[in-house]
């Protein structure tokens, strides 16, 4: 049974399968803002060949009662087919992509390149004074990379937000 006295927040990665109709993303975002829920990350894209369905991945946080409420609220939206709490339903993989622009020359430039290598980041654009690195991975890995670039000329970051799937043969 859920307990209102359990006030420790947890993070939850929720995947929502929706009809790809106009306004559906606004509905989901409006639900979060209107009811005061957090959105730490949000991604959306069509996921079938016909473009009929989209998958929305939301990373949110709250007490267990709040997370349950978020799922129930999402589930009752008319264009929503399925809601899955990947964090609770078993192991899952979550990845995001980041493009990171670093501007610098000399020793800092070399060091940035070296660190990018260990993180398996690719250089997708380069000039004599700048790199754009492309990096995929779990959120904490990307956070760590960006943190390291801070002293090496970090100029701009663009992140995709997370895409997530359950491990094994489970599907939502």
């Amino acid at each position: 049974m859920l307990s209102p006295t359990d006030t420790t927040p947890r993070s939850a990665t929720i995947s929502v399968l929706v009809d790809n109709e106009s306004g559906v993303l606004a509905r989901v975002i409006g639900l979060f803002s209107g009811r005061g829920y957090n959105i730490d990350s949000l991604t959306v894209a069509p996921v079938d060949a016909a473009g009929m369905h989209s998958r929305i991945n939301v990373v949110t946080s709250g007490t267990s009662m709040v997370i349950e409420q978020i799922k129930a609220q999402l589930d009752r939206l008319v264009p929503v087919h399925r809601v899955a709490d990947l964090t609770m339903d078993g192991p899952h993989v979550a990845r995001e992509l980041a493009l990171v622009k670093v501007i610098g020359t000399g020793e800092k430039r070399v060091e940035a390149m070296r660190i990018a290598d260990t993180f398996r980041a690719h250089v997708v654009d380069t000039t004599l004074g700048s790199f754009v690195f492309e990096l995929t991975g779990a959120t904490d890995k990307i956070d760590a990379f960006i943190e390291l670039m801070r002293d090496l000329g970090l100029a701009e970051v663009s992140r995709s937000g997370i895409a997530a799937l359950a491990r094994g043969s489970r599907v939502i």
Binding site: M1, D19, E68, Q69, A72, V78
Partner: protein, 592 residues
């Protein structure tokens, strides 16, 4: 588009409405909906009721829907027509009332251009509706209308907006037959029998059981009320209703403890506080009901039947959730109770009833009316007499209310034996709801007695609908408890803000008798207790719409009252009772 299409979008729209069983639309015309009004003009199957403001149309449709169990239908123009409808939509959303609201829109090619009378209606109404649609292609029109009806009435009912660009209703469109399903929206209605078994086990073990039934029982249909009544009688359990649930259980039944919550009875609230098993049916643990959450019914094991999963575990965690239609779940509970041979603790139940009867003896709704000629009328007495006199006439009575003290006194002193007879704005608490709602009820029940129990402040919020009453000869009775104050707010100011009555005096009131006259209705007035019965009788005998202006005690407060942030056992009782309860805490002051 193929050459065989012979009907315009507007005609297709009306055909779809007709196939959905629509008999009446409440609406107001304008440029964007002219083609629809033209199509209405050319047919007789659907009746249109012209309101005086779009807000009135939505409340009228709510009254129509709540008193019939059907979907209420509204038609308004783009821009200001749609924005005027928003309050009613949120009202219907909060109170789970099925409404279809058709809004005009500028033609598709002008959308986004700040065109004349353009508003982002789907954007504005997204959080105000259960769902909304913008029809972008004629071939989607009929399907969307049918889908919208399905969405509005199934699961937890609610308002649905269909935004109709003008070109869509002008151009020819194909028809599609009604559908009764939806690819993604499939609310669960059948209960899980494992959960039912768990529920019956808890109910059988109970020593201090309690049933808490709400508006969801009424949403489920009259059959659910009958099953609930059977179940309560069979188990012998005490039962209370929320404001929205009144009528789902016969008020005259000895097992009925009256309404619970902020202005509920002493016995209902203390029984909620002290029970060891709580069966909640179609009720959403609203803050007006629970009081301070961490003190709410702490010792009870809880079963919760609700068709909407998001109502369960929202405020109060429960042990046995049952996501299902109330009627179906109650049927299953009744059958499982009858089939179970687990013993019940009869002596414990008898002790519990002795305790409840002691609480009942407190007579928490008691008030004293001075019957001497010329005495001022107590508002509770006015409602008590209205109830007694209408009951004696044995006519079918429907009551609507505005919002405020009069609404609470009506809930306490007018009693209902059947569902769908009591229409009030509970969740949003919309002043101005009662008159248009009564209009909608009277349209649906032309021969019934329909009374709006009103406050002098609320009634002015939609007073223009007196014109509609007059045009359609709807004999609605407006019974104003005139205390010359926004009484409910004044009461909070008295109790919480040192009697500083900031802006709550109803200054410069109209002469309601003359106002009735101006609208071709009949006005009457009672100023003292000796005049009351005559005015009530004259009002009920009058063939036209009536405004009865009843001058009542301005200082009267509504008790019992659980102040915001207090617990059920910290109720304030009226002056008839010795001092009781608590003051308001600082945390409570910040609540509404």
């Amino acid at each position: 588009m193929s050459a065989e299409l012979t009907q315009s979008g507007a005609e297709i729209l009306l055909r779809a409405l007709k196939d959905q069983g629509v008999e009446v639309i409440f609406g107001y015309p304008g440029g964007a909906v002219l083609p629809i009004y033209d199509a209405l003009f050319k047919q007789n199957a659907i009746r249109h009721v012209l309101v005086r403001q779009e807000g009135g149309a939505v409340h009228a449709a709510e009254g129509y829907a709540r008193s019939t169990g059907k979907v209420g239908v509204v038609l308004v123009t783009s821009g200001p027509g749609a924005t005027n409808a928003v309050t009613g939509l949120v009202d219907a959303l909060m109170d789970s009332i099925p409404i279809i609201c058709l809004t005009g829109q500028v033609p598709t090619h002008l959308i986004g251009n700040d065109a004349f009378q353009e508003a982002d209606t789907t954007g504005i109404t997204r959080p105000a509706t259960k769902h909304n649609y913008l029809v972008k292609r004629g071939e989607d029109l009929a399907r969307i209308v049918h889908e919208a009806f399905y969405v509005a009435r199934s699961g937890r009912p609610g308002p649905v907006v269909i935004d109709l660009p003008k070109d869509i209703v002008i151009n020819p469109a194909p028809y599609a037959e009604p559908t009764f399903s939806h690819p993604s929206y499939r609310p669960r209605t059948e209960p899980d029998l494992g959960q039912i078994a768990k529920a019956v086990a808890l109910m059988k073990q109970a020593k201090r059981p309690m049933i808490y039934a709400g508006g969801g029982v009424i949403n489920s249909g009259p059959q659910a009320s009958e099953t609930l009544t059977k179940l309560a009688r069979l188990t012998g359990f005490p039962i209370t209703n929320t404001l929205m649930g009144l009528g789902c259980y016969p008020a005259s039944d000895p097992q009925f403890l009256g309404m619970l919550g902020m202005h509920g009875t002493y016995e209902a609230n203390l029984a909620m506080h002290g029970c060891d098993m709580l069966l909640a049916v179609g009720a959403r643990f609203d803050d007006r009901v629970t009081g301070r959450l961490n003190a709410f019914s702490q010792d009870s094991r809880k079963i919760h039947i609700d068709i909407d999963g998001s109502s369960i575990n929202k405020n109060v965690p429960v042990e046995v959730p049952i996501i299902a239609d109330a009627g179906k779940a109650l049927d299953a509970l009744l059958a499982a109770w009858e089939a179970s041979d687990a013993p019940v603790d009869k002596p414990a139940l008898a002790t519990w009833w002795r305790q409840i009867d002691e609480w009942k003896a407190k007579d928490s709704l008691k008030f004293t009316q001075n019957m001497t000629r010329g005495s001022i009328i107590k508002p509770q007495y006015a409602i008590q007499r209205l109830f007694e006199i209408t009951r004696a006439r044995k006519q079918e009575v429907f009551i609507t209310t505005e919002v405020g003290q009069h609404q609470m006194w009506a809930a306490q002193h007018f009693h209902f034996e059947k569902p769908n007879r009591w229409m009030t704005s509970g969740g949003l608490g919309t002043m101005g709801y009662g008159l248009p709602a009564a209009m909608g009820v009277q349209i649906a029940h032309p021969d019934a007695l329909v009374i709006d129990i009103a406050g002098e402040a609320s009634i002015l919020m939609n007073i223009q609908e007196m014109g509609t009453l007059s045009q359609y000869r709807l004999p609605v009775k407006v019974f104003i408890l005139n205390n010359q104050y926004m009484g409910m707010v004044r009461q909070w100011q008295e109790l919480l803000h040192g009697s500083r009555y900031s802006e709550t005096y109803s200054a410069a009131l109209p002469d309601f008798v003359k106002l009735a006259d101006a609208f071709h209705a009949t006005g009457m007035r009672a100023q003292t207790v000796d005049e009351l019965d005559d005015v009530i009788n004259a009002m009920l005998d009058c063939p036209t719409a009536v405004i009865a202006d009843i001058a009542v005690d301005q200082a009267e407060n509504c008790f019992p009252m659980i102040p915001s942030g207090a617990a059920h056992n910290q109720m304030l009782l009226g002056p008839e009772h010795e001092a009781s309860g608590v003051g308001v805490t600082d945390a409570g002051m910040a609540l509404v």
